[in-house]
């Protein structure tokens, strides 16, 4: 691993779809072990940013560095092998496999089993033990043999996070992990994410401010494809540019909804 002090760096990152530029020169440097929440009004490009970092799309220009190593334009699986994992806003599971199999699939590569067809899964004690440990940590051990498609919504969200962290990546991107969850579920879920990501660098896209303060040490504000503020929560809250951007968007949303702000 290189000696870079930053786990993740975005340098003048740009992405256009056709003529519209969604990400316009984003700059961000995340230190090792930092927990960052990315917030911003709808359409600011938060999900696009995650898609660029995780390799789903290639950026139009600019650089992305993971532990000092350039990863922009690489394939998702190459980026994952270098130690970056992401979750999805809509649960993205292996629906016809059991909960146990879902997690085990997610850690096979990192444990070095790759494309082996000369070893039995049942004999991979380390992978099976690790899977069971993770299931206990995620409190999914009672649902071990249930097919992923038969899980409740909240359980599916937990499994989504489980698949993301299983490979042991040290940079984790979570795309709206609590989307669609009830208040009480969210609270438990936040604690679970905290437990599961101890010591890792964490980036979260989130709308729920409760979640933002629960998970993040620092907040990055993305507006129209640019990071306009990146600091500890109190400093971000006091930032006049953030207030302007947020107030503006709140007013706009209120007008769309037809109710006075």
């Amino acid at each position: 691993m290189s000696q870079s002090e930053f786990a993740l760096e975005l340098l003048d990152l740009r992405k256009s779809f056709g003529k519209s530029e969604i990400i316009r020169g984003t700059q961000l440097q995340v230190r090792r072990g930092e927990r960052v929440a990315i917030i911003g009004p709808n359409g600011a490009g938060k999900s696009t940013l995650f898609n660029l970092i995780s390799g789903r799309f290639a950026p139009s220009s600019g650089e992305i560095r993971l532990n000092g190593k350039r990863i922009d334009g690489r394939k998702p699986y190459e980026i994952n092998r270098l130690g970056l994992a992401r979750s999805f806003q809509v649960s993205n599971l292996f629906t016809r496999l059991s909960v146990f199999e879902n997690i085990r699939c997610a850690l096979l590569w990192s444990m070095g089993y790759r494309y082996a067809f000369w070893k039995f899964l049942a004999g991979l004690d380390d992978a099976n033990d690790r899977t069971d440990e993770l299931l206990e940590l995620l409190k999914l051990d009672k649902r071990r043999d249930v097919l992923a498609m038969n899980l409740t919504y909240a359980e599916a969200r937990v499994l989504e996070i489980g698949i993301t962290i299983a490979g042991g990546a040290d940079v984790i991107l979570l795309d709206e992990p609590t989307a669609g969850m009830s208040k009480s579920e969210t609270k438990r879920f936040i604690q679970l994410i905290r437990d599961a990501t101890v010591g890792k660098t964490l980036l979260t896209v989130e709308h729920d401010m409760g979640v933002v303060f629960g998970l993040a040490d620092k907040i990055a504000v993305l507006v129209y494809g640019e990071i306009i503020a990146f600091d500890v929560p109190d400093a971000v809250r006091a930032d006049p540019r953030v207030q302007e951007a947020y107030l503006g968007s709140v007013l706009a949303e209120a007008q769309v909804a037809g109710s006075p702000a």
Binding site: Y77, A85, L93, F94, L108, A116, D145, A166
Partner: protein, 437 residues
């Protein structure tokens, strides 16, 4: 999962019970292969059993793609067929004395050919999944088919390539002359290949192949290259397909260009699906069905392809998991002791379906008869009844039977649907209750 483990066992303690059930099933499979020709001793039966053994390997190999990898191939006969050609050429080299290879290993040259061509052609085929994959395999299948006709030195042109599997000295009295000896060779290959393909489903590659089937996008984000997973599965499928092709060459001592044809590819797809792609043993049922249909049905009636098409249609509509899923669903009902309740409905379904079938079948047979067999006079035999295809009675009677059958069947089906759903609901409840205990 064969390994059950108590959740609180320490990380270094592994309780792996001897899986009695699995040994029983494999023992039964071996026994079935062993005694089948003792039970069915006629010449026809032996030919069919040999073909079934070969078809089992071919359908299981095809299902590595279809059922386990979610890859719909329209050109898989390319690999079994090229295996057949390479095997028959190897056989001829061996019988002319220029290559010293025992007859029993000739099918392996077919396997190597299948593997080799899968390495060559699979790379492009597996670049994409879904519809592009299907289209590419279709294209490559057509390519191989037309190439085989363009290279008569290789394919023997219209007449094909023939060979002779009986040459040299007999090893321990085995010459592979009699059909029964070929059958047992096929049975050994069938057992080993089936075991190997089952083993594949229990390995990291096999499981990742399921993951690629379910959600290729997510696989890319957990470190796996979906193309590599598909490509490796494709190669293994090609290997086993080639072995099946090699065995077929040995069995028929004759290989014509139709072994690489689209019809062959189509029948792999059709029968693997009918047998059931979602369970490992489904294609085995499909293979049995394939040989029975191709050999027996085609003797029974000229309209057999029509009936087969109808069966396929109904299977796709009502039981997309094939025969295997029907069996497994009913086993589940039986395991919860609720099968007894469905018997009456099943009887009603069967009775009304037979009525429908008798009416429909009579109509179809009469149409075929008037079109194809007019020279034989207006009368034909249908399940023991003499029908006059020129009289109005037969047409009216069969139509009436068909319509009544359809009506009653629909009533029976609705009743069955209700009872079935009720049973499933009760089973779900029972499972929930057991989970809470």
């Amino acid at each position: 999962m064969s390994v059950t483990r108590t959740p609180h066992a320490g990380p270094n303690f592994h309780f792996k019970p001897y899986n009695v059930g699995r040994w029983l099933i494999w023992g039964f499979f071996a026994l079935a292969l062993l005694v089948a020709p003792v039970i069915w001793t006629s010449g026809l039966a032996q030919t069919m059993l040999t073909q079934i053994g070969i078809a089992i390997i071919a359908c299981l190999a095809y299902n590595i793609l279809l059922g386990q990898g979610g890859m719909l191939s329209f050109g898989h006969s390319a690999y079994s067929g090229l295996g057949s050609f390479l095997a028959i050429h190897s056989l001829n080299l061996a019988s002319s004395g220029s290559w010293n290879i025992p007859v029993s290993l000739v099918p392996l040259t077919g396997g190597l050919a299948g593997l080799g061509f899968a390495i060559l052609l699979g790379y492009v085929s597996t670049k994409k999944a879904g519809t592009p994959f299907a289209m590419i395999t279709l294209g490559i299948g057509e390519l191989i088919w037309s190439m085989s006709l363009m290279l008569p030195e290789f394919s023997g042109g219209e007449g094909g390539v023939s060979g002779n599997r009986v040459f040299g000295k007999a090893v321990m009295g085995i010459t592979f002359g009699p059909q029964i000896q070929v059958y047992y060779l096929v049975a050994v290959y069938c057992f080993i290949c089936t075991a190997l393909m089952f083993a594949l489903t229990r390995t990291p590659l096999g499981r990742m192949l399921n993951a690629v089937r379910d959600n290729p996008e997510r696989v890319e984000f957990i470190g796996y290259d979906t193309h590599s997973v598909r490509y490796m599965a494709f190669m293994l499928s090609g290997l086993f397909s080639g072995i099946a092709g090699g065995l077929a060459a040995l069995n028929f001592e004759m290989v014509t260009a139709e072994v690489v044809g689209a019809a062959r590819s189509g029948s792999y797809l059709l029968f693997t699906f009918l047998g059931g792609a979602t369970f490992f043993f489904g294609p085995i049922l499909g293979a049995i069905l394939m040989v029975v249909a191709l050999v027996l049905f085609s003797e029974l009636t000229k309209a057999w392809l029509l009936y087969l098409g109808l069966i396929f249609l109904f299977m796709v509509m009502y039981a997309p998991g094939g025969l295997a899923s029907l069996i497994m669903m009913n086993l589940r009902v039986a395991a919860f002791g609720k099968l007894r309740r469905l018997w009456a409905s099943y009887l009603a379904l069967a009775g009304t379906a037979l009525t429908m079938l008798a009416g429909g079948g009579a109509l179809v047979e009469m149409i075929y008869h008037t079109q194809l067999n007019e020279a034989l006079g207006p009368e034909l035999q249908f399940i023991g009844v003499t029908l006059n295809s020129e009289g109005i009675d037969a047409w009216f009677g069969s139509s009436f039977l068909l319509l009544v059958g359809i009506g009653l069947f629909e009533v029976a089906r609705r009743q069955f649907r209700l009872e079935w759903d009720e049973t499933q609901e009760e089973i779900e409840k029972e499972i929930k209750r057991r989970e809470l205990l």
